[in-house]
Symmetry: C2
Amino acid sequence: MYRTHNCGQLRLTDAGSSVTLSGWVSISRDFGSLTFVDLRDRYGITQLVFDADARPELRQQVQQLGREYVIRVKGVVRERSNKNPNRETGDIEIEVNELDILNQSKTPPFTIEDNTDGGDDLRMKYRYLDLRRNPVQQNIIFRSRLAIETRKYLADQGFIEVETPFLIKSTPEGARDFVVPSRMNPGTFYALPQSPQTFKQLLMVSGLDKYFQIVKCFRDEDLRADRQPEFTQIDCEMSFITQEEILNTFEGLAKYLFKTIHNIDLGDFPRMTYDEAMTRYGSDKPDLRFGMEFAYLKEAVSGRGFAVFDQAENVIGIVAKDCEDRFSNKDMKELTEWLQRPQIGAKGLVYVKYGKDGIKSTIGKFYSDEDLQRIGEVCGAQQGDMLLILCGETEKTRKQLNELRLEMGRRLGLIKEGAFKPLWVVDFPLLEWDEDTQRFYAMHHPFTAPKQSDIEKMKSSDRAVLGNLRADAYDMVINGVEIGGGSIRIFDKELQATNFSLLGFSPEEAERQFGFLMNAFEYGAPPHGGIAFGFDRLCAVMSGQNNIRDFIAFPKNNQGRDVMIDAPSAIDAGQLKELGIEVKSQS
Amino acid sequence: MYRTHNCGQLRLTDAGSSVTLSGWVSISRDFGSLTFVDLRDRYGITQLVFDADARPELRQQVQQLGREYVIRVKGVVRERSNKNPNRETGDIEIEVNELDILNQSKTPPFTIEDNTDGGDDLRMKYRYLDLRRNPVQQNIIFRSRLAIETRKYLADQGFIEVETPFLIKSTPEGARDFVVPSRMNPGTFYALPQSPQTFKQLLMVSGLDKYFQIVKCFRDEDLRADRQPEFTQIDCEMSFITQEEILNTFEGLAKYLFKTIHNIDLGDFPRMTYDEAMTRYGSDKPDLRFGMEFAYLKEAVSGRGFAVFDQAENVIGIVAKDCEDRFSNKDMKELTEWLQRPQIGAKGLVYVKYGKDGIKSTIGKFYSDEDLQRIGEVCGAQQGDMLLILCGETEKTRKQLNELRLEMGRRLGLIKEGAFKPLWVVDFPLLEWDEDTQRFYAMHHPFTAPKQSDIEKMKSSDRAVLGNLRADAYDMVINGVEIGGGSIRIFDKELQATNFSLLGFSPEEAERQFGFLMNAFEYGAPPHGGIAFGFDRLCAVMSGQNNIRDFIAFPKNNQGRDVMIDAPSAIDAGQLKELGIEVKSQS
């Protein structure tokens, strides 16, 4: 037997007991005849004492012990003279009388400590050692707990977890598929699912009524820091359901998770239409942890001879409270340059500082102090505040000002640590026009139902009318991050065909790709809808962190590589031959 | 709102309530002014009554209703005059006063009934309709429940569920991998995991201590009836653990599942070594629901001038109780031919019938009645019994006799319905010699630890010695089906290298394929071991069924095809080009 207890378990009440422990040597301190070893496992750290006077036969072995050696000890629990109140086992130590070295360890390439000296690349290559560090291990344990509680809530609500297939059919719509050549059916390919969307809808046609699955999904996209080629969704679908009922069910899930895990009452989620979110925050995932709402100033600033504003489609400002004296001219120049980077692309930044010693502004030439005072009143700026203004085409300006708002929130420290501000964004557009390809794309996905009142308008050929169609689609947003999104689905074959045609599918193409779903709609499809949550992201947001990679046991890097196992890699010629495919030489 | 209650919910105590129900029209019976409709959903069936006299305005709509139409009704619950005791809602019916047809349905290609008229192929093509049938739906719900209870047990035992990656590295050892071409790293491939084996071992190196995952795995094998290219495992691994502790932990899981779900106490599992199982039953997964153990007769039958027996390496019999008069000469001929089919390959079948009117045997020419009586005594045959004997090379004969034993068990109805007979088979061989390739393969997998006492023998070059090495490997068997298997793992780099070399890996090959694991072993790998259960098979066995396909929502057929969605299928030339691969023309 390797252990009677784990390394986080023993307390003062165990004093006098004979125990066996196993674990890793975390730290070893040699004080001549006494050697203290911190023995570590998943559950905690227990102090071992080797007394060379009492057990001279252990002396030699103890001296061999290096960091991360794996050992088993037998000994007696005793009270510590020098207690450690920061450790749950801090009242006791083990007086060791038997020691087995179970495995040795080379010196790890970085320290196994909360604040390691290992860089990102090294920690990825030795991910199995990085996972030994407490903060990383706790993330993985947190993820497991979150999955358990999610399943508990959904099962209690009558949801059935159904596993949908991974080897499915490629559908060019949406992101790129990963494909899998079929050996038994040469020349053909499976695709890995980008989501179980069509299968969960088929399960509704099957009458499963309430489905969920915590499931891996795959997208072959060029990766950003917060994207992974494989990621996990909490995927849900319900039948005979209204949007209102779906929002309540999954608001309930979020409330349950925050209450159970963080003991935080989220309260009822505010709801905001897409239009309102864009108008007030320039984003469909506004961060409500701070204010700084958009003020529309076009009217207030027009007619003073400042051509830039006069000619702009829109002029929008935000008020940064009590900070007019915190930004020097140099700071403002740097902030302007930050906004002018291609990622944001603002032309320039106008500011008005409402200082104690008067008003300072980049547009003082065109506007009198009275004008600026009046503009300040329009947007609620008071003495001590700074007004930041962008102008131009409405949609672009909103996006730029959204970036500026978030940046100001960060710079001014307006985001309280541990605060969680959820909301629902509803009434998303059905379609989104793409200038490059000159066609509409589905804003959510092609199965999303238009609002009942907008169905007639789908017959229009007016791009403006089509662009304004609204869908029964909704996103759950927490702290400015889209945690989940979903929609009421189309369940009528004709309406689905109309939607495919708006998305540029020929009837043949729609039939080829989604014929099975449209056929299913002919056999009594119920009204249904659902939602999918990004599970990796939910883990990160609930932990107040940004990087989803920290919550994935074995993540891929930005090139889609697993540097630990060295994948992807070349495969044998024999494998390729069996699959009936050839690698084209790279030119 | 679509419903206030589901179709399995209302009882007599609800009489008088106004309710809204939605569901599918299961049956509609028209009795002139009264029409009765059975409304069905996942939860049950509720009877609706449309009274044409009271609600003439509904008459026309009601007449339109066809099978599988989706409707919503509002009405009042009332007591039924003609109660249906076989249905939980059988005491009530709904007097309908409002009807909405939510969706129509074409006539389904087969009846949505427990005993459908649909053939296998048709039901697969319309799997979403097959899943509407109660027995199929219940299988899927059973699976969901089994997953919930499995997770509950393991989480309560301190196991952490960790998601391991799906896009990993191809390793030619074992079954064929499905591979995934990488677009971002042209010319290279990911592989889909055949199991998370190496990752769970790395998690043990990471100190996760107790890992589990219910996870999809992939094997590109030629399919048999009970195999699927994608299948689900309950995958588990533990550190600082002995085989004994693993067996107890997972015997506990099986007991918990049977108790919770079936209210069956399995009792303690018998344990049998591989050698004993092969000796007594000719199988490493013996079905203990009936006896008929092997009797070794070589000694008893030798020296009577019957060359077939005299020259055979072994002569083995089984006794079929009380059935000497149940098999005619024709039956025996048919049974012999059954044994001689190439799948089994027996040369012939010898029998001795111990009848009331004397002994009848195919070997009466060589053996006197006294001889046969004595042979009967050796194997415990009594008057009324039939002794069936095969002979030849020991291993082959055992396998053939195992088939005969199972067949006799079925034919004689010895297998009691609802009986569950579990056992552990332990001490499997480490290596298995393959005549075709003239090399050893790992009987379990290359990471399995040899028994401590056999480690020295691994240095031998004697094939017989190596073939007799025993491993700390074990299978859980229930009713003759291998439900799960696992082993204690090697956690020492040198021993792992020795094992790879016995398996014919060059050091370079081992390094290329498993270098990351062997490197991990150098940084303090703990002793560890684990097990994996076939979750699809566990579902089937616990339900007393054979076909795992019935427990998979969307299974593939024997050609690896999903005939419902038509996958695998051709993909766009553009996709292939992006991936840098070409389909070779089929010659």
